[in-house]
Protein backbone atom coordinates (compact mmCIF):
# COMPACT_ATOMS: atom_id res chain seq x y z
CA UNK A 1 0.00 0.00 0.00
CA UNK A 2 2.94 2.35 0.43
CA UNK A 3 4.19 1.96 -3.11
CA UNK A 4 1.22 3.61 -4.79
CA UNK A 5 1.54 6.48 -2.34
CA UNK A 6 5.02 7.41 -3.47
CA UNK A 7 4.02 6.82 -7.05
CA UNK A 8 1.24 9.27 -6.60
CA UNK A 9 3.48 11.83 -4.92
CA UNK A 10 5.89 11.71 -7.82
CA UNK A 11 3.10 12.23 -10.28
CA UNK A 12 2.07 15.35 -8.53
CA UNK A 13 5.11 17.21 -9.75
CA UNK A 14 5.32 20.93 -9.53
CA UNK A 15 4.78 22.93 -12.64
CA UNK A 16 2.35 20.49 -14.21
CA UNK A 17 -0.89 22.17 -15.13
CA UNK A 18 -3.79 21.48 -12.72
CA UNK A 19 -6.23 18.77 -13.77
CA UNK A 20 -9.12 21.08 -12.94
CA UNK A 21 -8.80 24.82 -12.60
CA UNK A 22 -11.50 27.33 -11.73
CA UNK A 23 -10.66 31.02 -11.85
CA UNK A 24 -13.14 33.47 -10.36
CA UNK A 25 -16.08 31.34 -11.42
CA UNK A 26 -19.54 32.72 -10.67
CA UNK A 27 -22.91 31.32 -11.55
CA UNK A 28 -26.14 33.26 -11.50
CA UNK A 29 -29.46 31.57 -12.13
CA UNK A 30 -32.14 33.77 -13.64
CA UNK A 31 -31.63 37.36 -14.70
CA UNK A 32 -31.59 40.89 -13.34
CA UNK A 33 -32.96 41.53 -9.86
CA UNK A 34 -34.47 38.07 -9.56
CA UNK A 35 -31.18 36.39 -10.38
CA UNK A 36 -29.90 33.96 -7.79
CA UNK A 37 -26.19 34.02 -7.13
CA UNK A 38 -25.35 30.34 -6.69
CA UNK A 39 -21.57 30.51 -6.89
CA UNK A 40 -19.56 33.61 -6.09
CA UNK A 41 -16.05 34.10 -7.44
CA UNK A 42 -14.74 30.60 -6.84
CA UNK A 43 -11.10 29.84 -7.50
CA UNK A 44 -10.04 26.29 -7.01
CA UNK A 45 -7.74 23.73 -8.53
CA UNK A 46 -7.24 20.00 -8.46
CA UNK A 47 -3.70 18.86 -9.18
CA UNK A 48 -3.11 15.79 -11.35
CA UNK A 49 -3.53 12.71 -9.17
CA UNK A 50 -5.01 14.71 -6.32
CA UNK A 51 -8.17 13.82 -4.43
CA UNK A 52 -10.07 16.95 -3.41
CA UNK A 53 -13.16 16.80 -1.23
CA UNK A 54 -15.62 19.62 -1.71
CA UNK A 55 -17.63 20.09 1.44
CA UNK A 56 -20.56 22.31 2.26
CA UNK A 57 -23.99 22.60 3.80
CA UNK A 58 -27.05 22.57 1.57
CA UNK A 59 -27.42 25.49 -0.78
CA UNK A 60 -23.71 26.03 -1.22
CA UNK A 61 -23.81 25.13 -4.89
CA UNK A 62 -21.57 22.05 -4.67
CA UNK A 63 -23.53 20.24 -7.33
CA UNK A 64 -23.72 23.36 -9.48
CA UNK A 65 -19.96 23.58 -9.35
CA UNK A 66 -19.56 19.99 -10.55
CA UNK A 67 -22.07 20.56 -13.34
CA UNK A 68 -19.96 23.46 -14.53
CA UNK A 69 -16.77 21.41 -14.52
CA UNK A 70 -18.57 18.57 -16.32
CA UNK A 71 -19.77 21.00 -19.00
CA UNK A 72 -23.43 20.33 -18.19
CA UNK A 73 -23.84 24.03 -17.52
CA UNK A 74 -21.95 27.23 -18.31
CA UNK A 75 -20.51 29.69 -15.78
CA UNK A 76 -21.84 33.24 -15.78
CA UNK A 77 -18.39 34.65 -15.16
CA UNK A 78 -14.84 33.41 -14.75
CA UNK A 79 -12.85 30.76 -16.53
CA UNK A 80 -12.77 27.08 -16.08
CA UNK A 81 -10.39 24.57 -17.60
CA UNK A 82 -9.34 20.96 -17.49
CA UNK A 83 -6.38 21.30 -19.81
CA UNK A 84 -8.09 19.17 -22.43
CA UNK A 85 -8.40 16.24 -20.03
CA UNK A 86 -11.26 13.81 -20.32
CA UNK A 87 -13.88 13.98 -17.61
CA UNK A 88 -16.06 11.29 -16.13
CA UNK A 89 -18.79 11.88 -13.59
CA UNK A 90 -20.74 9.92 -11.01
CA UNK A 91 -24.02 11.15 -9.59
CA UNK A 92 -25.84 10.58 -6.33
CA UNK A 93 -28.14 8.21 -8.23
CA UNK A 94 -26.45 5.44 -10.19
CA UNK A 95 -28.09 6.85 -13.38
CA UNK A 96 -27.92 3.46 -15.09
CA UNK A 97 -29.94 2.73 -18.21
CA UNK A 98 -32.72 0.38 -17.05
CA UNK A 99 -33.18 -1.22 -20.48
CA UNK A 100 -29.58 -2.44 -20.61
CA UNK A 101 -27.80 -5.17 -18.73
CA UNK A 102 -25.10 -4.23 -16.26
CA UNK A 103 -22.37 -5.06 -18.79
CA UNK A 104 -24.13 -3.13 -21.56
CA UNK A 105 -24.38 -0.14 -19.24
CA UNK A 106 -20.61 -0.13 -18.84
CA UNK A 107 -20.27 -0.66 -22.60
CA UNK A 108 -22.17 2.58 -23.22
CA UNK A 109 -19.04 4.50 -22.23
CA UNK A 110 -17.15 2.70 -25.02
CA UNK A 111 -19.95 2.60 -27.57
CA UNK A 112 -20.03 6.37 -27.82
CA UNK A 113 -16.34 6.25 -28.73
CA UNK A 114 -17.07 3.82 -31.54
CA UNK A 115 -15.28 0.84 -29.97
CA UNK A 116 -16.18 -2.47 -31.69
CA UNK A 117 -18.54 -4.91 -30.07
CA UNK A 118 -16.05 -7.62 -29.13
CA UNK A 119 -13.56 -5.23 -27.60
CA UNK A 120 -16.40 -3.45 -25.81
CA UNK A 121 -17.49 -6.66 -24.14
CA UNK A 122 -13.99 -7.58 -23.06
CA UNK A 123 -13.24 -4.19 -21.62
CA UNK A 124 -16.60 -3.89 -19.88
CA UNK A 125 -15.88 -7.23 -18.19
CA UNK A 126 -12.50 -5.91 -17.03
CA UNK A 127 -14.02 -2.81 -15.51
CA UNK A 128 -16.70 -4.84 -13.77
CA UNK A 129 -13.93 -7.00 -12.31
CA UNK A 130 -12.25 -3.90 -10.93
CA UNK A 131 -15.35 -3.09 -8.88
CA UNK A 132 -15.76 -6.77 -7.91
CA UNK A 133 -18.88 -7.29 -9.97
CA UNK A 134 -17.39 -9.72 -12.49
CA UNK A 135 -20.24 -12.21 -12.18
CA UNK A 136 -23.07 -9.72 -12.54
CA UNK A 137 -22.68 -8.51 -16.13
CA UNK A 138 -25.82 -10.25 -17.38
CA UNK A 139 -28.06 -8.85 -14.63
CA UNK A 140 -30.30 -5.84 -15.00
CA UNK A 141 -29.65 -2.79 -12.81
CA UNK A 142 -32.88 -3.27 -10.84
CA UNK A 143 -31.72 -6.72 -9.78
CA UNK A 144 -28.78 -5.25 -7.87
CA UNK A 145 -28.61 -3.50 -4.52
CA UNK A 146 -28.01 0.24 -4.24
CA UNK A 147 -24.33 -0.20 -3.43
CA UNK A 148 -23.83 -2.57 -6.34
CA UNK A 149 -25.54 -0.18 -8.74
CA UNK A 150 -23.27 2.59 -7.59
CA UNK A 151 -20.28 0.33 -8.30
CA UNK A 152 -21.62 -0.33 -11.80
CA UNK A 153 -21.86 3.42 -12.19
CA UNK A 154 -18.22 3.68 -11.04
CA UNK A 155 -17.21 0.97 -13.53
CA UNK A 156 -18.96 2.91 -16.30
CA UNK A 157 -17.17 6.11 -15.29
CA UNK A 158 -13.82 4.26 -15.23
CA UNK A 159 -14.57 2.79 -18.66
CA UNK A 160 -14.48 6.30 -20.06
CA UNK A 161 -10.74 6.18 -19.30
CA UNK A 162 -10.98 9.77 -18.14
CA UNK A 163 -8.24 11.52 -16.20
CA UNK A 164 -10.62 13.47 -14.03
CA UNK A 165 -13.41 11.88 -12.02
CA UNK A 166 -16.16 14.14 -10.67
CA UNK A 167 -18.28 12.62 -7.94
CA UNK A 168 -21.50 14.23 -6.73
CA UNK A 169 -22.30 12.68 -3.34
CA UNK A 170 -22.05 9.23 -4.90
CA UNK A 171 -22.41 7.33 -1.63
CA UNK A 172 -24.96 9.63 0.02
CA UNK A 173 -27.83 7.18 -0.27
CA UNK A 174 -25.97 4.11 1.00
CA UNK A 175 -25.85 2.53 4.44
CA UNK A 176 -22.75 3.10 6.58
CA UNK A 177 -21.17 -0.31 6.10
CA UNK A 178 -21.53 -0.32 2.32
CA UNK A 179 -20.24 3.23 2.25
CA UNK A 180 -17.12 2.29 4.24
CA UNK A 181 -16.35 -0.53 1.85
CA UNK A 182 -16.84 1.70 -1.15
CA UNK A 183 -14.49 4.27 0.37
CA UNK A 184 -11.76 1.60 0.51
CA UNK A 185 -12.67 0.60 -3.00
CA UNK A 186 -12.51 4.12 -4.35
CA UNK A 187 -9.24 4.86 -2.58
CA UNK A 188 -7.65 1.73 -4.08
CA UNK A 189 -8.88 2.48 -7.62
CA UNK A 190 -7.91 6.15 -7.42
CA UNK A 191 -4.38 5.31 -6.29
CA UNK A 192 -3.95 2.58 -8.88
CA UNK A 193 -5.21 4.57 -11.82
CA UNK A 194 -3.76 7.93 -10.86
CA UNK A 195 -7.06 9.75 -11.22
CA UNK A 196 -7.70 13.33 -10.26
CA UNK A 197 -10.88 13.36 -8.20
CA UNK A 198 -13.21 16.15 -7.21
CA UNK A 199 -15.55 14.65 -4.66
CA UNK A 200 -18.62 16.53 -3.44
CA UNK A 201 -20.17 15.61 -0.12
CA UNK A 202 -21.96 17.05 2.88
CA UNK A 203 -20.50 14.37 5.14
CA UNK A 204 -17.45 15.80 6.94
CA UNK A 205 -15.92 12.45 7.90
CA UNK A 206 -16.29 11.18 4.38
CA UNK A 207 -14.55 14.29 3.08
CA UNK A 208 -11.64 13.77 5.50
CA UNK A 209 -11.54 10.00 4.98
CA UNK A 210 -11.01 10.40 1.24
CA UNK A 211 -9.49 13.76 0.44
CA UNK A 212 -5.90 14.94 0.17
CA UNK A 213 -7.48 18.31 0.74
CA UNK A 214 -10.89 19.39 1.98
CA UNK A 215 -12.34 22.57 0.48
CA UNK A 216 -15.11 24.05 2.56
CA UNK A 217 -17.75 26.07 0.74
CA UNK A 218 -19.97 28.62 2.42
CA UNK A 219 -23.65 28.77 1.56
CA UNK A 220 -25.73 31.32 -0.35
CA UNK A 221 -23.77 32.30 -2.24
CA UNK A 222 -21.30 29.46 -2.56
CA UNK A 223 -17.79 30.70 -1.85
CA UNK A 224 -14.59 29.00 -0.78
CA UNK A 225 -14.62 29.49 3.01
CA UNK A 226 -11.47 27.60 3.90
CA UNK A 227 -9.18 24.82 2.73
CA UNK A 228 -7.90 22.05 4.99
CA UNK A 229 -4.97 19.87 3.97
CA UNK A 230 -5.40 16.30 5.19
CA UNK A 231 -2.06 14.86 6.27
CA UNK A 232 -3.27 11.49 7.45
CA UNK A 233 -1.53 8.40 6.17
CA UNK A 234 -3.41 6.14 3.78
CA UNK A 235 -5.13 3.77 3.80
CA UNK A 236 -7.37 5.62 6.22
CA UNK A 237 -10.19 4.43 8.42
CA UNK A 238 -13.27 6.59 8.90
CA UNK A 239 -13.45 5.74 12.62
CA UNK A 240 -9.79 6.51 13.35
CA UNK A 241 -9.00 9.25 15.92
CA UNK A 242 -7.00 11.25 13.34
CA UNK A 243 -9.94 11.42 10.97
CA UNK A 244 -12.33 12.19 13.82
CA UNK A 245 -10.14 15.00 15.13
CA UNK A 246 -9.82 16.84 11.85
CA UNK A 247 -13.47 16.18 11.08
CA UNK A 248 -14.59 17.83 14.30
CA UNK A 249 -12.41 20.88 13.58
CA UNK A 250 -13.96 21.19 10.14
CA UNK A 251 -17.43 20.61 11.54
CA UNK A 252 -16.93 23.55 13.91
CA UNK A 253 -15.96 25.76 11.02
CA UNK A 254 -18.96 24.50 9.05
CA UNK A 255 -21.21 25.27 12.00
CA UNK A 256 -20.03 28.89 12.00
CA UNK A 257 -20.94 29.09 8.33
CA UNK A 258 -24.40 27.73 8.97
CA UNK A 259 -24.91 30.03 11.97
CA UNK A 260 -24.33 33.07 9.77
CA UNK A 261 -27.62 32.22 8.08
CA UNK A 262 -29.56 31.69 11.30
CA UNK A 263 -29.97 35.34 12.06
Amino acid sequence: MTAPLTERASRRTKGEEPAVRLDGVSKIYGQGKNGLLALDNISLSVEPGEFVSLLGASGCGKSTLLSLVAGLDKPTAGTLGTGGRKIAMMFQEPALFPWLTVAANVEMALRVQGVGKKERQERAAEFLDIVHLGGFGAKRPHELSGGMRQRVSLARALAQEADVLLMDEPFGALDAMTRDLLHDELERIWQKRGLSVLFVTHNVREAVRLGDRVVLLSSRPGKVAEEFPVDIERPRVTDSPEVAELASAITNRLRQEVLRHGR
Binding site: G71, L72, I87, A95, V112, R140, R188
Partner: protein, 296 residues
Protein backbone atom coordinates in the same frame (compact mmCIF):
# COMPACT_ATOMS: atom_id res chain seq x y z
CA UNK B 1 -13.30 -18.30 10.86
CA UNK B 2 -10.32 -17.26 13.00
CA UNK B 3 -7.97 -19.14 10.69
CA UNK B 4 -9.55 -17.47 7.71
CA UNK B 5 -9.02 -14.01 9.10
CA UNK B 6 -5.40 -14.70 10.02
CA UNK B 7 -4.42 -15.99 6.59
CA UNK B 8 -6.19 -13.26 4.73
CA UNK B 9 -4.86 -10.50 6.92
CA UNK B 10 -1.76 -10.29 4.73
CA UNK B 11 -3.91 -9.33 1.79
CA UNK B 12 -6.42 -6.68 2.80
CA UNK B 13 -7.67 -6.45 -0.76
CA UNK B 14 -8.89 -10.04 -0.51
CA UNK B 15 -10.75 -9.45 2.72
CA UNK B 16 -12.22 -6.39 1.21
CA UNK B 17 -13.39 -8.20 -1.91
CA UNK B 18 -14.93 -10.95 0.20
CA UNK B 19 -16.70 -8.48 2.44
CA UNK B 20 -18.19 -6.85 -0.61
CA UNK B 21 -19.23 -10.22 -2.01
CA UNK B 22 -20.84 -11.07 1.34
CA UNK B 23 -22.80 -7.83 1.43
CA UNK B 24 -23.86 -8.32 -2.19
CA UNK B 25 -25.15 -11.82 -1.47
CA UNK B 26 -27.06 -10.58 1.59
CA UNK B 27 -28.64 -7.70 -0.26
CA UNK B 28 -29.80 -9.72 -3.22
CA UNK B 29 -31.45 -12.41 -1.12
CA UNK B 30 -33.48 -15.17 -2.71
CA UNK B 31 -36.76 -14.51 -4.42
CA UNK B 32 -39.12 -17.40 -4.93
CA UNK B 33 -41.71 -17.37 -7.63
CA UNK B 34 -44.77 -19.57 -7.75
CA UNK B 35 -45.26 -22.14 -10.52
CA UNK B 36 -46.71 -21.35 -13.93
CA UNK B 37 -49.90 -23.33 -13.39
CA UNK B 38 -50.64 -21.56 -10.11
CA UNK B 39 -50.07 -18.14 -11.67
CA UNK B 40 -52.15 -18.97 -14.73
CA UNK B 41 -55.04 -20.18 -12.60
CA UNK B 42 -54.72 -17.11 -10.39
CA UNK B 43 -55.31 -14.92 -13.44
CA UNK B 44 -57.88 -17.17 -15.07
CA UNK B 45 -60.45 -17.65 -12.35
CA UNK B 46 -61.38 -13.97 -11.89
CA UNK B 47 -61.96 -13.78 -15.66
CA UNK B 48 -64.14 -16.88 -15.63
CA UNK B 49 -66.05 -15.47 -12.68
CA UNK B 50 -66.65 -12.22 -14.56
CA UNK B 51 -67.92 -14.11 -17.62
CA UNK B 52 -70.24 -16.20 -15.42
CA UNK B 53 -71.67 -13.07 -13.77
CA UNK B 54 -72.28 -11.37 -17.13
CA UNK B 55 -73.98 -14.48 -18.52
CA UNK B 56 -76.19 -14.71 -15.43
CA UNK B 57 -77.26 -11.07 -15.72
CA UNK B 58 -77.88 -11.51 -19.44
CA UNK B 59 -80.02 -14.59 -18.88
CA UNK B 60 -81.82 -12.80 -16.05
CA UNK B 61 -82.81 -9.93 -18.33
CA UNK B 62 -84.05 -12.35 -20.98
CA UNK B 63 -86.16 -14.19 -18.38
CA UNK B 64 -87.57 -10.95 -17.06
CA UNK B 65 -89.51 -10.73 -20.33
CA UNK B 66 -88.81 -7.04 -20.86
CA UNK B 67 -88.10 -7.76 -24.53
CA UNK B 68 -89.41 -10.63 -26.66
CA UNK B 69 -86.72 -13.22 -27.49
CA UNK B 70 -86.59 -12.37 -31.17
CA UNK B 71 -85.45 -8.88 -30.16
CA UNK B 72 -83.09 -9.84 -27.35
CA UNK B 73 -81.83 -13.42 -27.63
CA UNK B 74 -80.51 -15.35 -24.62
CA UNK B 75 -76.98 -16.70 -24.20
CA UNK B 76 -77.87 -20.26 -25.26
CA UNK B 77 -79.45 -19.18 -28.53
CA UNK B 78 -76.68 -16.64 -29.21
CA UNK B 79 -73.85 -19.11 -28.70
CA UNK B 80 -75.69 -21.71 -30.73
CA UNK B 81 -75.98 -19.29 -33.62
CA UNK B 82 -72.38 -18.19 -33.17
CA UNK B 83 -71.17 -21.80 -33.27
CA UNK B 84 -73.12 -22.30 -36.46
CA UNK B 85 -71.56 -19.25 -38.05
CA UNK B 86 -68.05 -20.11 -36.93
CA UNK B 87 -68.30 -23.36 -38.88
CA UNK B 88 -69.12 -21.33 -41.97
CA UNK B 89 -66.18 -20.28 -44.18
CA UNK B 90 -67.94 -17.08 -45.24
CA UNK B 91 -68.05 -15.83 -41.67
CA UNK B 92 -64.33 -16.43 -41.32
CA UNK B 93 -63.82 -14.46 -44.52
CA UNK B 94 -65.72 -11.57 -42.94
CA UNK B 95 -63.48 -11.77 -39.88
CA UNK B 96 -60.48 -11.94 -42.21
CA UNK B 97 -61.52 -8.78 -44.10
CA UNK B 98 -62.00 -6.89 -40.84
CA UNK B 99 -58.67 -8.07 -39.44
CA UNK B 100 -56.87 -7.18 -42.66
CA UNK B 101 -58.28 -3.65 -42.47
CA UNK B 102 -57.39 -3.40 -38.79
CA UNK B 103 -53.82 -4.55 -39.30
CA UNK B 104 -53.15 -2.37 -42.37
CA UNK B 105 -54.80 0.65 -40.80
CA UNK B 106 -52.88 0.17 -37.56
CA UNK B 107 -49.58 -0.44 -39.34
CA UNK B 108 -49.93 2.78 -41.35
CA UNK B 109 -50.96 4.58 -38.14
CA UNK B 110 -47.78 3.40 -36.42
CA UNK B 111 -45.67 4.71 -39.30
CA UNK B 112 -47.47 8.04 -39.41
CA UNK B 113 -47.46 8.32 -35.62
CA UNK B 114 -43.73 7.58 -35.45
CA UNK B 115 -42.81 10.15 -38.07
CA UNK B 116 -45.05 12.87 -36.62
CA UNK B 117 -44.03 12.05 -33.05
CA UNK B 118 -40.33 12.11 -33.90
CA UNK B 119 -40.60 15.42 -35.78
CA UNK B 120 -42.77 17.15 -33.21
CA UNK B 121 -40.68 16.00 -30.25
CA UNK B 122 -37.45 17.14 -31.92
CA UNK B 123 -38.39 20.43 -33.54
CA UNK B 124 -39.50 23.21 -31.21
CA UNK B 125 -41.50 25.16 -33.78
CA UNK B 126 -43.49 22.08 -34.75
CA UNK B 127 -44.08 21.36 -31.09
CA UNK B 128 -45.52 24.81 -30.52
CA UNK B 129 -47.66 24.59 -33.66
CA UNK B 130 -48.95 21.01 -33.53
CA UNK B 131 -48.48 19.79 -29.96
CA UNK B 132 -51.93 20.69 -28.72
CA UNK B 133 -53.52 19.93 -32.09
CA UNK B 134 -52.44 16.30 -31.78
CA UNK B 135 -53.98 16.05 -28.33
CA UNK B 136 -57.09 17.75 -29.69
CA UNK B 137 -57.37 15.22 -32.51
CA UNK B 138 -57.45 12.46 -29.92
CA UNK B 139 -60.65 13.83 -28.43
CA UNK B 140 -62.38 14.06 -31.83
CA UNK B 141 -64.90 11.20 -32.14
CA UNK B 142 -63.83 9.20 -35.18
CA UNK B 143 -67.40 8.84 -36.45
CA UNK B 144 -67.38 12.59 -37.05
CA UNK B 145 -64.71 12.11 -39.71
CA UNK B 146 -66.79 9.76 -41.86
CA UNK B 147 -68.90 12.27 -43.76
CA UNK B 148 -65.70 13.97 -44.91
CA UNK B 149 -63.98 10.64 -45.60
CA UNK B 150 -66.89 9.48 -47.74
CA UNK B 151 -66.90 12.77 -49.64
CA UNK B 152 -63.18 12.42 -50.30
CA UNK B 153 -62.91 8.71 -51.01
CA UNK B 154 -66.45 7.56 -51.70
CA UNK B 155 -67.82 4.34 -50.18
CA UNK B 156 -64.46 2.61 -50.36
CA UNK B 157 -62.02 0.90 -48.07
CA UNK B 158 -59.79 3.98 -48.33
CA UNK B 159 -62.45 5.97 -46.50
CA UNK B 160 -62.34 3.47 -43.64
CA UNK B 161 -58.54 3.35 -43.54
CA UNK B 162 -58.40 7.16 -43.57
CA UNK B 163 -60.54 7.36 -40.45
CA UNK B 164 -58.71 4.52 -38.72
CA UNK B 165 -55.42 6.36 -39.20
CA UNK B 166 -56.89 9.65 -37.97
CA UNK B 167 -58.12 7.78 -34.91
CA UNK B 168 -54.96 5.88 -34.04
CA UNK B 169 -52.00 7.96 -35.24
CA UNK B 170 -52.42 10.87 -32.76
CA UNK B 171 -52.31 8.49 -29.78
CA UNK B 172 -49.21 6.81 -31.10
CA UNK B 173 -47.50 10.12 -31.84
CA UNK B 174 -48.48 11.40 -28.41
CA UNK B 175 -47.07 8.29 -26.75
CA UNK B 176 -43.71 8.90 -28.39
CA UNK B 177 -43.72 12.62 -27.59
CA UNK B 178 -44.57 11.96 -23.94
CA UNK B 179 -41.83 9.35 -23.75
CA UNK B 180 -39.26 11.74 -25.16
CA UNK B 181 -40.42 14.52 -22.82
CA UNK B 182 -40.26 12.33 -19.77
CA UNK B 183 -36.84 10.81 -20.36
CA UNK B 184 -35.38 11.06 -16.84
CA UNK B 185 -33.14 14.18 -16.72
CA UNK B 186 -30.51 12.26 -14.75
CA UNK B 187 -30.11 9.83 -17.67
CA UNK B 188 -29.69 12.77 -20.04
CA UNK B 189 -27.03 14.28 -17.78
CA UNK B 190 -25.23 10.95 -17.44
CA UNK B 191 -25.37 10.46 -21.22
CA UNK B 192 -24.01 13.93 -21.79
CA UNK B 193 -21.05 13.22 -19.54
CA UNK B 194 -20.52 9.89 -21.33
CA UNK B 195 -20.30 11.88 -24.55
CA UNK B 196 -23.62 11.16 -26.26
CA UNK B 197 -24.82 13.98 -28.50
CA UNK B 198 -27.61 14.57 -31.01
CA UNK B 199 -28.43 11.50 -33.12
CA UNK B 200 -26.44 9.11 -30.97
CA UNK B 201 -28.20 10.48 -27.92
CA UNK B 202 -31.50 9.91 -29.67
CA UNK B 203 -30.75 6.43 -30.82
CA UNK B 204 -29.10 5.04 -27.71
CA UNK B 205 -30.79 6.96 -24.92
CA UNK B 206 -33.94 8.91 -25.71
CA UNK B 207 -35.68 6.37 -27.94
CA UNK B 208 -35.12 3.40 -25.64
CA UNK B 209 -36.08 5.53 -22.64
CA UNK B 210 -39.39 6.46 -24.27
CA UNK B 211 -40.31 2.86 -25.04
CA UNK B 212 -42.77 2.30 -22.15
CA UNK B 213 -44.69 5.43 -23.01
CA UNK B 214 -44.59 4.57 -26.72
CA UNK B 215 -45.99 1.14 -25.94
CA UNK B 216 -48.82 2.73 -23.95
CA UNK B 217 -49.47 4.95 -26.98
CA UNK B 218 -49.58 1.88 -29.25
CA UNK B 219 -52.07 0.21 -26.95
CA UNK B 220 -54.33 3.24 -26.87
CA UNK B 221 -53.86 3.68 -30.61
CA UNK B 222 -55.03 0.13 -31.19
CA UNK B 223 -58.16 0.74 -29.11
CA UNK B 224 -58.96 3.84 -31.19
CA UNK B 225 -58.20 2.02 -34.44
CA UNK B 226 -60.52 -0.84 -33.55
CA UNK B 227 -63.35 1.52 -32.58
CA UNK B 228 -62.93 3.63 -35.71
CA UNK B 229 -62.86 0.51 -37.83
CA UNK B 230 -66.14 -0.79 -36.41
CA UNK B 231 -67.79 2.60 -36.86
CA UNK B 232 -66.47 2.69 -40.42
CA UNK B 233 -67.70 -0.78 -41.31
CA UNK B 234 -71.18 0.10 -40.08
CA UNK B 235 -71.29 3.29 -42.11
CA UNK B 236 -69.36 2.33 -45.23
CA UNK B 237 -70.95 -0.84 -46.57
CA UNK B 238 -68.98 -2.12 -49.54
CA UNK B 239 -70.75 -4.57 -51.85
CA UNK B 240 -69.40 -8.12 -52.13
CA UNK B 241 -67.02 -7.60 -49.24
CA UNK B 242 -68.45 -9.01 -46.06
CA UNK B 243 -66.94 -7.75 -42.80
CA UNK B 244 -67.84 -7.90 -39.11
CA UNK B 245 -69.36 -4.41 -39.14
CA UNK B 246 -71.31 -5.22 -42.27
CA UNK B 247 -72.60 -8.40 -40.56
CA UNK B 248 -73.81 -6.31 -37.61
CA UNK B 249 -75.59 -3.99 -40.01
CA UNK B 250 -77.44 -6.78 -41.83
CA UNK B 251 -78.24 -8.65 -38.62
CA UNK B 252 -80.06 -5.57 -37.45
CA UNK B 253 -81.79 -5.14 -40.82
CA UNK B 254 -82.95 -8.77 -40.65
CA UNK B 255 -83.75 -8.53 -36.92
CA UNK B 256 -81.44 -11.49 -36.26
CA UNK B 257 -80.85 -10.82 -32.57
CA UNK B 258 -78.81 -13.97 -31.85
CA UNK B 259 -76.53 -13.34 -34.85
CA UNK B 260 -76.08 -9.70 -33.89
CA UNK B 261 -75.13 -10.50 -30.30
CA UNK B 262 -72.83 -13.28 -31.51
CA UNK B 263 -70.95 -10.91 -33.80
CA UNK B 264 -70.69 -8.38 -30.99
CA UNK B 265 -69.08 -11.08 -28.86
CA UNK B 266 -66.59 -11.81 -31.65
CA UNK B 267 -65.71 -8.10 -31.88
CA UNK B 268 -65.26 -7.90 -28.11
CA UNK B 269 -63.12 -11.04 -27.96
CA UNK B 270 -60.82 -9.84 -30.76
CA UNK B 271 -60.45 -6.47 -29.02
CA UNK B 272 -59.62 -8.09 -25.70
CA UNK B 273 -57.26 -10.61 -27.34
CA UNK B 274 -55.17 -7.91 -29.01
CA UNK B 275 -55.20 -5.82 -25.86
CA UNK B 276 -53.81 -8.85 -24.01
CA UNK B 277 -50.99 -9.04 -26.57
CA UNK B 278 -50.06 -5.44 -25.81
CA UNK B 279 -50.29 -6.11 -22.10
CA UNK B 280 -47.97 -9.09 -22.43
CA UNK B 281 -45.46 -6.89 -24.23
CA UNK B 282 -45.85 -4.20 -21.59
CA UNK B 283 -45.36 -6.70 -18.76
CA UNK B 284 -42.26 -8.17 -20.37
CA UNK B 285 -40.83 -4.67 -20.66
CA UNK B 286 -41.69 -3.83 -17.08
CA UNK B 287 -40.04 -6.99 -15.84
CA UNK B 288 -36.88 -6.22 -17.81
CA UNK B 289 -36.75 -2.66 -16.50
CA UNK B 290 -37.67 -3.58 -12.94
CA UNK B 291 -40.83 -1.49 -13.03
CA UNK B 292 -43.21 -4.28 -12.11
CA UNK B 293 -45.27 -4.16 -8.98
CA UNK B 294 -44.16 -6.43 -6.18
CA UNK B 295 -46.55 -9.34 -6.12
CA UNK B 296 -46.82 -11.31 -2.92
Amino acid sequence: MAVDQASAADRPADVHARQLAGLDALELGGATSSGLAVRLWGRLWPMLLAVAIVLAIWQGIVWSGRWPEYVFAGPAETFGKLGERLSDAEYWQAIGVTMRRAVTGFAISVLVGLVIGALVSRIKVLRAAFGSLITGLQTMPSIAWFPLAILLFGLTESAITFVVILGAAPSIANGLITGVDYTPPILLRASHVLGFRRLQLYRHVILPASLPSFLAGLKQGWAFAWRSLMAGELVVIIAHQSSLGERLYYDRELADSAGLLGTMIVILVIGIGIDLLFETGDNALRRRWGLQQVRN
